[in-house]
Structure formats: structure tokens, C-alpha cells
């Protein structure tokens, strides 16, 4: 591809000296059936452009690319914004792209024209509405007790409008950006029966809602409801989910860079673990959150620490402060091979059991560029069972109702320390086809509890940039001894996913 770019750059330079390159020869005639004639004619007939050109281009006569380019330039200068629709602007943009080289050669400031088009487009619809839609068809099986943990309400087979999200955004000025995410479906809030995606969709919610802007001294400022996910920011988890963090909060975020060093401070409330209830009014609603992250990133390594202070200030007579500290680091052996990890320790109040849990993980992250045929993610983690807030559903193939290897983790076994392995290999065969295989194992360190193993595989097809299909299989074996009979044995699911982005 780099070669292609080099060739493109060369073409731009030698366009006039290489008449053989007919596509960029400005004196070559534009064929009479070319769409550009109709496009300009249409815009003129609708009164979108005035100053329609002189005899150099009349639509019925052959014209050179230079001549058509001059028409495009005039059209853009004279465009009447009040009359133009989005389709008209699309047409003009298409023309600009088609005749970009000629416009450059004519000395027309394409830069200014582009900005003008952008401004016009903003004037018509500066708000951008985009979205993503996911539909899952799941066929589950259970070899033991008839509980289908892969589907909601224990259903065997389930077709769901799993998740539908709309993104509403606006770039207000060069430094200010508004972002909102509106979602519904199985991942929305509410009781299972209301949010399962069957029947009419209910419980729509604004999951993210914030504004970014710039304060004096080059300080980035964010206000609203946003995600706190430093593990995600530094690439410390794959798939689903972080060991700790990845929750949303209502509050303020300030960050500033000093060269390669970055400091981020968050103060907020209503932060909750990313349960279906999301931002809540329970204990978390009575907790002030302070988060500080200090990070240094160089080309080959990064190092940093994050501190979470959750201070309970509710009316109940309880001690419920929770302090969690993490240090993380990563080193790249080559651009495509990295070793990284994070170590957490906690200090909690009585409400949380006066626990001082610890958790950590180490990851070997090998990109496909290194091994050519596959990427490889090897993760090992340990977690004290009394570590508060750790996600035991991590390594699942989906959120919400999917079964997961850590389901039987015995939180009450405070002296226990669960150990996890997670390995994933993903292959991008070409632009369209991809595959993956994955394996997870949880060693619960609880005498009477069997370890659990999960494995799965899948194949993806990127039909167009907007449409993606995936067929995946996943299985969890919980062993023979668990809390309840229903938690024994194996569950598995065959999932057909349709994802559309627009």
C-alpha cells in the first residue's frame, strides 16, 4: 500500500510531463456521457449555482477536464447555501474529488473550497447521527440441568434485538466536541423481562453524554456522563472485560500533557460497576469518586499508576469507603510484540469486609504483523476472591447473559485466590474474512469447587464496511461440583450475529 501511495505522489508531480497517464491529463476530453455533465446541469437547473459558465462548457459539447474543473470551481464559489440540499453538496463534493488535480493545477484553493463545503454542510446538518445495530440469534444447549445460561430467562433458543445504539455528535468548534450515546436492547437497563429485546423495545437510555473542551494552559476538560476505563485506554484487556474499572460516571475530567507525561483527574458521582443498571442511585449514588491517573508513554514502553478513591457520604451509618490502587507497565520488544500488565491492591472499609484484596495480570500481546498468520493474546491473572469490583465475567464472548468461566467464583471464600488463563488467537485472512479461537480457564482455589474451562471459535465475514456477519461457538464446562446443581456441567451456544453500522 505504501508503494501505491508513493506512486500516487509521483503521479501528482509528473502529471503534466506524463501524457500517457490519461486519467490525469487535464486536456483530455471528458466523454459526453460522463456523469459530471449531468451533475453540473442538475445543480444549475435547480438554481443551486449561479454564474453558470460561458461557452467553454455547455453540457452538449465535449469539454476538457480543465474546463469542467473551472465550472466546478465557479459552482462552489457561487453556491446558494439556502437552496442546497445534502444531496447537492454530496454531488459537489464528488465533483471536487473527481477534478481535484485540475483544480489544484488551476491554482484554485481547494483547501478553501473544502472548508466552504464543510461549513455549508455544517449549516445544513452540523449534528451527526450515526448508529450501530446488533441482532443475535442464539441456539443454546445444556447437557445437564436444563438451564441455558447463554440466554436470558433460561431460554433454549433466543432471537434478540441485542443492542441498538445511536450516536449523536457535534464538533462545536476546533476544541469543543459533544458526544451522546443512546441505547436500547438487551444491554439497556431494567429488569430482564423489560430489556431482553423481545417484544417492543423499552428502557432506552443515554449511556454516555459529555462535552470535551479546552481550558487555559492547554488543559482538556470533560463534563457529563462518560466512561472511566484506564485498562481499556492502555490496551490492558481484550474482548470482555477489564479486571477493574470500565464503569461510567457523572462528573468532570481534567487532563494535561507535559510532553510524554499525562495526568488525568476525575471527580464524579453515580459511578457504578458496569452492571445492567449502569449508573445507579444505590450505594454508588452516595459515593464521591476521585480518580487520578499518571502515565508516561514512550515509543517502546509505558508506565503509570491509577488511584480510585470512593468516599461514601450517604446518610446511612456505615463505613463504605473503598480505595483501589493500580500500577501498570508495558514494553514492546518489537512494534508487534509487547509484554504488559497491571497490579492492584485495595484498602476497604467495613461495608466491603475490611478487605485488602489484590489482583494482577500479565499479558503477552502479539500482533498479526509479527507472526503473519495470526495474532496471539496470552493473559494470566490472579485475583483474591475478596477483591471488590473485579469482573468475574471477563473473558466471556459477550455481555449480559452469556455464560462465563468465572460464574462459580466463591466470593465468600475470602482466603481464596482465583487464577485465570485466557488465550485468544485471531486471524485476519483478508479484508473480508476473519476467524478466531479462544480458551479460558479459571482455577478457583476452593477445595470443593471444580475448576471451569471455556473455549470457542468463530468466523467473521465483513460483507461491506457497514455490514458484518459472525458465526461463533462457545462452550463452558463448570465441572461437577458447584454451588447448586444447576451450575454444574456444560453449557454451549451457537450464535449468529448480524452487525450493521451506519
Amino acid at each position: 500500500m505504501k508503494k501505491f501511495m508513493a506512486v500516487m505522489a509521483m503521479v501528482a508531480v509528473v502529471a503534466f510531463a506524463a501524457p500517457a497517464l490519461a486519467a490525469t491529463n487535464p486536456f483530455m476530453d471528458v466523454p459526453q456521457g460522463h456523469w459530471a455533465y449531468d451533475a453540473v446541469g442538475l445543480l444549475a437547473s435547480r438554481g443551486i449555482v449561479s454564474g453558470y459558465p460561458d461557452g467553454s462548457f455547455k453540457g452538449a459539447q465535449p469539454a476538457t477536464r480543465y474546463e469542467v474543473a473551472s465550472v466546478v470551481a465557479r459552482a462552489l464559489v457561487a453556491i446558494d447555501a439556502d437552496k442546497a440540499s445534502k444531496q447537492d453538496l454530496e454531488l459537489l463534493k464528488k465533483l471536487v474529488m473527481e477534478f481535484k488535480d485540475e483544480l489544484d493545477a488551476l491554482g484554485v484553493k481547494v483547501d478553501k473550497l473544502d472548508k466552504r463545503v464543510a461549513v455549508l454542510e455544517d449549516g445544513i446538518g452540523g449534528w451527526k447521527i450515526r448508529g450501530t445495530f446488533r441482532f443475535d440469534a442464539k441456539f443454546a444447549s445444556d447437557t445437564d440441568e436444563g438451564n441455558y445460561y447463554y440466554n436470558e430467562n433460561g431460554l433454549k433458543n433466543d432471537f434478540e434485538k441485542e443492542r441498538f445504539r445511536l450516536f449523536l455528535t457535534k464538533t462545536i468548534d476546533a476544541n469543543t466536541y459533544f458526544y451522546a450515546q443512546y441505547r436500547t436492547g438487551a444491554s439497556a437497563s431494567g429488569a430482564n423481562a423489560l430489556r431482553d429485546g423481545r417484544g417492543d423495545l423499552q428502557n432506552m437510555r443515554w449511556s454516555h453524554l459529555f462535552v470535551n473542551t479546552k481550558l487555559p494552559y492547554d488543559i482538556n476538560f470533560r463534563v457529563g456522563r462518560f466512561a472511566v476505563d484506564f485498562e481499556g485506554d492502555y490496551g490492558l484487556y481484550d474482548d470482555w472485560d477489564a479486571l477493574f474499572g470500565d464503569y461510567r460516571i457523572d462528573g468532570f475530567q481534567l487532563s494535561k500533557n507535559w510532553g510524554n507525561f499525562k495526568g488525568t483527574f476525575i471527580v464524579g458521582r453515580n459511578g457504578a460497576f458496569d452492571t445492567p443498571d449502569g449508573v445507579s442511585e444505590n450505594i454508588a449514588g452516595n459515593v464521591m469518586n476521585y480518580v487520578l491517573d499518571l502515565n508516561y508513554t514512550a515509543e517502546r514502553w509505558f508506565l503509570g499508576g491509577t488511584a480510585y478513591w470512593w468516599n461514601y457520604d450517604g446518610e446511612a451509618n456505615i463505613d463504605a469507603d473503598l480505595r483501589t490502587y493500580g500500577i501498570y507497565a508495558g514494553f514492546k520488544f518489537t512494534p508487534a510484540i509487547a509484554l504488559k500488565g497491571i497490579y492492584y491492591w485495595q484498602n476497604t472499609d467495613q461495608f466491603w469486609g475490611d478487605a485488602d484484596g489484590k489482583a494482577w495480570k500479565a499479558i503477552l500481546d502479539v500482533k498479526q504483523e509479527a507472526l503473519k498468520f495470526t495474532s496471539l493474546w496470552v493473559e494470566y491473572s490472579q485475583q483474591d476472591n475478596d477483591f471488590v469490583g473485579a469482573y468475574n465475567d471477563r473473558y466471556a464472548i459477550g455481555d449480559g447473559t452469556y455464560d462465563y468461566v468465572g460464574r462459580n467464583l466463591d466470593w465468600a471464600d475470602a482466603n481464596g485466590r482465583t487464577k485465570w488463563w485466557f488465550v485468544k488467537a485471531a486471524q485476519q485472512w483478508n479484508e473480508k474474512w476473519s476467524t478466531f479461537i479462544r480458551y479460558a480457564h479459571a482455577d478457583f482455589d476452593t477445595d470443593w469447587l471444580d475448576n471451569a474451562t471455556e473455549w470457542g471459535l468463530g468466523i467473521g465475514y465483513q460483507y461491506t464496511p457497514a455490514i458484518y456477519f459472525e458465526l461463533a461457538y462457545d462452550q463452558v464446562d463448570h465441572g461437577d461440583s458447584a454451588f447448586a446443581l444447576a451450575d454444574h456441567g456444560k453449557d454451549h451456544v451457537l450464535r449468529f450475529r448480524t452487525n450493521v453500522n451506519f
Binding site: 508513493a6 508531480v13 483547501d111 466536541y177 470482555w240 510532553g259 514512550a298 467473521g460 453500522n501
Partner: protein
């Protein structure tokens, strides 16, 4: 604890092993190795299945030289042809004034609106950030799928003319969270160590002579223009002196 130590040793050994095999593989293909060294990328896969991948390649002297050598080798060029290509390529890159970076988006997620692109990306050098001086205009239009082009950042301070990369260890390319809603407010950034990058190394041989000739011609044109302006000013002042002198003479006669 022992188990932990063993595990970490295992992971490091595995990484070292992979590095070894990777290095061996790359040795056979120097251009790919150089490309990988100067290319940074990040892929964000959404839980719904959409994805956005951003790749950026810093046009260092090493990378440009490797690219020219590869072209020469692939096309069986003579030295003169290679010099000619180098001259045209360097002219296009405007390396003596700007820092070119190739940027590629692979967007299998919601539509991206990047216009105007110069507020979507910036380069951080030390404590200061710089907007692109120029960029591929195609970035201004909405798209799904792939889009690739060059963005050029200033190499010299606009006011003082100071070399921005002098004594600088690294530069960072930062993308605004506004590039894609899939980022959910996250900033994507790439760091390159440029302490050992020396673009002046490229300006050697015939291509360098031609580029210097171009520069000198530009400078000569500018000097001629300045000269003409100064002569015009001088002529105007002389005319004014004549007029005043004439009037003084007239007044003296009265």
C-alpha cells in the same frame, strides 16, 4: 510466588522467542522491517462487532531511503533513474519544510466525518501541539471503509524559524476522540522516537543538487521580487524629493 516468577519468566521467554523468529523473518525483508518500525497502529473493536483501525507511518529518512531503494530494486532502475525518482519524491514530500505522515483509516464502524481534518489530528512536540500545515483533502469527506493519505506538519516554527525537532527525542501524533463514535471519548495517540532521524542525509548526490538548485531559484526569484519592490519604493521617494525640491524652488523665486 514461585509460580508467579516462573510464569513471568515463561511469558518473557515466549516474547523473546517470538522476537527472535520475527527478527529473523524481517531480516529477509528489510523494507517490511523498516516499515513496521515507523508504522504505529491501533484497532478498536466494538462489542457489537464494528471496528476502527488507525495506522500512521512517519516519513523518516530511514523509511524514505528504504522506500526509494525498494522501488529502484523492484523496477531495476539505473542510478540516474533512482536519483530522478528520489528528486521527484522528495519534492512531493516537501521534507525540507514539513514532516509528512501517512495516515490510514480502516473503518468498519459508523460513518466517519473528519472534515475539517486539521482539527482532528495534531502533532505534539514537547509541550506544544501543531495542526497539519497541509493534508489530503479527501479526509474531509465522510466515509466507511478505507481512506489513506498524507498529512504534513510544520518542521520549523512559523514565527522564529527554529527547527522544531532540534534536540527533540520524540513526537506524538494525537487523534481527536471526534474521529469516530466507537472511541467513546478515547484519544488515540502514537509516539515515534525521532532523535536519530536525520532527513539531511537524504539530501546527497544528484537529487540533492537538483533540490538545491530549485531552492536557489526560488530564493533568487524572491530576492528579485524584493529588489523590484525596493526599487519601486526608491523611485517613489525620488519622485517625491523632486516634487518637493521643485516646490521649494518655486517658493524661493516668489
Amino acid at each position: 510466588m514461585k509460580k508467579t516468577a516462573i510464569l513471568i519468566i515463561m511469558l518473557i521467554s515466549a516474547a523473546a522467542l517470538l522476537c527472535g523468529s520475527s527478527a529473523e523473518h524481517a531480516f529477509a525483508d528489510t523494507f517490511d522491517q523498516v516499515l513496521l518500525r515507523w508504522t504505529k497502529w491501533e484497532k478498536k473493536v466494538d462489542r457489537d462487532g464494528g471496528s476502527i483501525e488507525i495506522r500512521a507511518t512517519y516519513y523518516s529518512a530511514e523509511y524514505i531511503e528504504a522506500m526509494i531503494q525498494k522501488e529502484a530494486k523492484d523496477n531495476l532502475w539505473t542510478q540516474s533513474e533512482a536519483d530522478d525518482y528520489k528528486y521527484k519524491f522528495l519534492s512531493t514530500l516537501r521534507l525540507d519544510e514539513l514532516i509528512p505522515i501517512n495516515i490510514k483509516f480502516i473503518n468498519n464502524g459508523p460513518t466517519m466525518y473528519l472534515g475539517p481534518f486539521d482539527i482532528m489530528v495534531k502533532m505534539r512536540i514537547g509541550n506544544k501541539t501543531y495542526k497539519p500545515s497541509d493534508y489530503d483533502r479527501r479526509f474531509n469527506f465522510k466515509f466507511q471503509g478505507e481512506k489513506e493519505g498524507l498529512a504534513f506538519f510544520p518542521r520549523f516554527d512559523e514565527k522564529t524559524g527554529k527547527d522544531l525537532l532540534k534536540d527533540v527525542k520524540s513526537v506524538t501524533l494525537e487523534f481527536s476522540p471526534a474521529v469516530s463514535p466507537l472511541l467513546e471519548g478515547r484519544t488515540i495517540s502514537f509516539v515515534w522516537n525521532v532523535a536519530d532521524d536525520n532527513p539531511q542525509k537524504l539530501y546527497e548526490g544528484k537529487a540533492a543538487s537538483r533540490l538545491e538548485t530549485d531552492r536557489l531559484i526560488k530564493r533568487l526569484e524572491k530576492l528579485r521580487k524584493d529588489k523590484a519592490e525596493e526599487e519601486s519604493k526608491l523611485s517613489a521617494i525620488n519622485g517625491e524629493i523632486d516634487t518637493i525640491q521643485k516646490r521649494l524652488d518655486e517658493l524661493a523665486k516668489q
